[in-house]
């Protein structure tokens, strides 16, 4: 089978790219291992909602229609939203088609799937940033009677032993799971490394509204001082609760979650935790202050001070005097460990020397080193908002323009060669 562009993945990134490729009248196909929005459908826990408000899921030629713009979509609603988009734009999606190999062939690419092989001039990798949960090596040394779950395996508290739970990681996933499991009545300890604290609402508006309106989310990848750091910033401590309450370490402490340092090692049956809890909390508190300072300065400059609530500051994160450094699993107080320690993409099917030493695709704003290979939907790919449903459209516009120029140039070259 032959097409001009193969797009791998039919989530928001692949669909937005499809919309733009259609605008450029470029023949393409989207290969999807499952259904449209597959990761949202099959790899998320039951209660998860989007962390961005309904209004902030703007895709090319599509957006929220409804009477709850400030609400947060459930996973079934998110899947429905993306399926509606796929239908509306008539995206050429081949579902239940798993890509097993991509390699360069004859100035183009060969894409092997479990339903046949495609030849294409260009390939867009839109398969997501979170295909595989990252679990530290320590997980392999746990006593057999301690259950170990990734966020892909976790659905809801009822599947857990009634005993204590250790949640490792305090970014968006870890804090939401810790909150839910604690509210189920279980004792919960949360191991906290570096994290990003933000309030859900500030001065009466959603934090995402501020970040969007003030241009923070539009900040470009070639404008930041330290792109490596920007691309590796942990996800914001946010939840999309109906009551719009904030989630942070203080809110968790108030409901009885115990905070402990970053998980650092295991010695026999004893888990060892870093003594750095106080500093990672200070770093997050100060970083939040700087964000709020930026927002306040922007609000004043825009003359918004009369319209929105007055500035405020939040309590510093409360850390107990001497947080514990050890948990002996043999004492039986922890029955389950949930690894909210991040995710990574899966490129095991990419048979080309385009990955760096850490297994990431080397790219300049989504343009990979191999001509005609593109990647989209990764954190800070081209903008701070690149990994958001709301951000992928602008990246797709930029990359589709690059891609269109590339395939047209190829066409011109081939025509020229044919006439010589």
């Amino acid at each position: 089978m032959r097409t001009t562009v193969v797009v791998i993945g039919a989530g928001q990134a692949g669909l937005a790219m499809s919309w733009w490729l259609a605008r450029h009248a470029i023949d393409h196909v989207l290969l999807e291992r499952g259904e449209v929005a597959n990761s949202w459908k099959t790899e998320r826990w039951d209660s998860l909602t989007l962390l961005t408000p309904n209004w902030q899921s703007r895709l090319p030629g599509f957006g929220y229609v409804g009477n709850d713009p400030d609400g947060f979509r459930s996973m079934p609603e998110t899947v429905g939203f993306l399926q509606d988009y796929a239908r509306t734009i008539a995206a050429p999606v081949r579902t239940q088609t798993r890509v097993t190999c991509v390699r360069q062939r004859d100035e183009g690419y060969e894409v092997v799937t479990d339903r046949g092989t495609w030849q294409a001039r260009a390939v867009v990798v839109a398969s997501g940033a979170c295909n595989i949960p990252v679990v530290p090596g320590i997980a392999g040394s746990l006593p057999a009677d301690v259950a170990s779950l990734t966020p892909f395996q976790y659905r809801n508290p009822s599947q857990l032993d009634p005993g204590g739970v250790l949640v490792v990681g305090a970014s968006a996933t870890g804090v939401q799971i810790a909150d839910e499991v604690r509210r189920s009545g279980r004792s919960v300890t949360l191991a906290v490394g570096e994290h990003v604290r933000v309030p859900r609402t500030y001065r009466g508006r959603d934090i995402k509204w501020w970040m969007d309106a003030s241009g923070v989310l539009d900040q470009r990848y070639d404008e930041v001082d330290d792109l490596v750091r920007a691309r590796n910033v942990p996800s914001l401590q946010l939840a999309g609760y109906a009551d719009r309450r904030s989630i942070d370490l203080n809110s968790l402490t108030r409901i009885g979650v115990r905070l402990i340092g970053r998980l650092a090692g295991i010695n026999g049956s004893t888990l060892q935790f870093s003594g750095s809890l106080r500093n990672v909390c200070t770093l997050a508190d100060l970083k939040m202050q700087r964000l709020l300072d930026t927002i306040d300065a922007w609000a004043a400059q825009q003359g918004l001070d009369g319209e929105v609530e007055a500035p405020r500051r939040f309590d510093a994160t409360a850390v107990e005097e001497s947080p514990p450094l050890l948990i002996d699993l043999a004492r039986g107080r922890v029955k389950t460990i949930i690894w909210a320690t991040g995710f990574r993409p899966d490129y095991s099917w990419l048979q080309m020397p385009v990955l760096d030493a850490r297994g990431s695709i080397r790219h300049d704003g989504g343009v990979a080193e191999a001509p005609g290979l593109y990647v989209i939907g990764l954190p800070f790919l081209r903008r701070r908002k690149s990994s958001l449903i709301d951000g992928v459209g602008d990246d797709a516009r930029d990359l589709s323009a690059h891609l269109a120029a590339y395939v047209r140039e190829k066409v011109v070259q081939q025509v020229t060669l044919a006439t010589v």
């Binding site: 070639d222 750095s276 770093l283 100060l286 700087r290 001497s322």
Partner: protein, 189 residues
């Protein structure tokens, strides 16, 4: 890139351009980033010993301090010793203070903050029943370390706090003390 090229006015005596250059170079050649730090030690008498450092390995080659540095350690008279040097645990505190303070100077330089004075006071608690073997439930080491910085600089209180926090984030000795490390001690003939 935009802010990195703006002119810096702070003069803290740290060559951050060289540090940023090294970071970039070592990203491309990670094997050169592997250092080995070394010390030797001779027992003098009683609880006194003398440690020296001079050679180390890094950037793919053997390296050397300009001079040999010597550290005498001993125990104080309340331990019935002769007090000919700092106790080893005090040398650990000196290492932590030196590391954090160097970090503060470097981060201040990178953030263009002029330092006028930086002083630190360190205190570590220890229940010596641990090292005496008097109570198996008491650990040998510190039960906590408290560091208090007093910093005079051209920056807001929050920016100064952020300097100190960032220095901890990037500090080797802070990491060594707050996280477990495998230690192998062998005996040769």
């Amino acid at each position: 890139m935009s802010t990195a090229t703006t002119e810096k006015t702070a003069r803290n005596g740290v060559n951050v351009e060289a540090l940023f250059g090294a970071r970039e170079a070592l990203t491309k050649a990670p094997e050169a980033a592997r250092f080995k730090w070394r010390a030797t030690c001779e027992w003098v008498k009683g609880t006194q010993s003398r440690s020296t450092v001079q050679e180390f390995y890094g950037l793919g080659a053997e390296q050397k301090h300009k001079t040999k540095f010597t550290f005498d350690s001993d125990h104080p008279e309340v331990f019935a010793s002769e007090d000919s040097g700092a106790t080893p645990v005090e040398i650990v505190l000196a290492g932590l203070a030196g590391c954090l303070t160097a970090g503060i100077a470097a981060v201040a330089q990178a953030r263009d903050i002029q330092l006028r004075s930086v002083s630190a006071t360190l205190e570590a608690g220890m229940d010596i029943r641990g090292i005496l073997g008097a109570d198996p439930d008491v650990r040998n080491g510190f039960d906590g370390v408290k560091v208090v910085y007093k910093i005079d600089a051209d920056a807001s209180p929050d920016d100064i706090k952020a300097l100190v926090a960032q220095s901890q984030k990037r500090s080797a000795v802070y990491d060594i003390i707050t996280n477990p490390t495998n230690v192998t001690v062998e005996v040769t003939q």
